[in-house]
Symmetry: C2
Subunit: 171 residues, 2 copies
């Protein structure tokens, strides 16, 4: 368990935790897709993660404090993975990465809508979303007056999917 760092630079240290092709994908699916079980993460994976890689990343992310793992009381074999304050705080990074990808890379419309909303909403929206994630994952008290950012992102996504389906059916 000896951890040695290449340097004390914050960028480098962040890369040592998140600098691979899968860690942020796993966190993204938990965060935006609300997938909390191993099988959900495995089978609904847009990118097709392999089970051994998923297992390894979940273990590493738990070790490093970005996720927690609990037993599901409703099923003896189920494990529930939850975000921590550390991973919830990645929202600004996700937002900026999404905005950058949207601008420079060949994104698909239905998968980029969330990134666009997050960018347009700016830091106030991020804060709302982070507070919702605290409610969902850290059992924080919920503010019942606020409309859910999570639902808004999800609705926007489903809207694009439905519109595209209608458009292709009309051809």
């Amino acid at each position: 368990m000896e951890e040695t760092h290449r340097s004390g630079c914050p960028i480098n240290l962040t890369l040592e935790v998140l600098g691979d092709r899968w860690s942020l994908i796993v966190i993204r699916d938990i965060m935006f897709g609300n997938r909390r079980h191993f099988r959900e993460l495995l089978q609904n994976s847009e990118e097709g993660i392999a089970s051994n890689i998923l297992a390894d990343r979940l273990k590493r992310l738990v070790e490093r404090g970005l996720l927690t793992r609990e037993d599901d009381p409703s099923h003896k074999q189920k494990a529930i993975y939850s975000l921590t304050e550390m991973s919830i705080s990645l929202i600004p990074i996700f937002a900026e990465m999404g905005a950058w990808g949207n601008r420079f890379l060949p994104v698909s419309e239905e998968l980029s809508i969330r990134a666009r909303l997050l960018k347009e909403g700016g830091r106030p929206l991020w804060e709302d979303f982070m507070q919702e994630l605290r409610v969902l994952h850290l059992h924080a008290p919920r503010d019942l007056d606020k409309p859910s950012v999570f639902d808004r992102l999800r609705a926007a996504y489903l809207d694009v999917v439905a519109r595209k389906a209608a458009a292709s059916a009309a051809e």
Copy 2:
């Protein structure tokens, strides 16, 4: 040169370009350290990058549009690497990653000062810095009235280093 993508998600596409342990380190050194030659990047590397990895990353980043490579007119063997609009636009991601690393990871003081300034300066400072990088790397016209963010970040870093040296000499 067949590029196939795992998905059209902006986060995923960004990870396909930047999701490894070295790409952002190379860009960081060009961007914040103004290292423009192979040897500068190799020998001043805080993290100790190997020459074959550096060569591979430079090649990939040029292929993917994040860097350009030109011959140095003053030396037949020298190559000059420059940022592009695509990599200059990574500034918000660097700023957020730096802020996150500063908050959650064991950063060293002298290497975290730039991240702190970038965070405190916020988006207006980022824009100033991006404009300076355009001057340095894209030959954009320079606004002579503005004080250089680049110099400010550098001065803050040297200040911490000098202060720590004085403090340890006084012991």
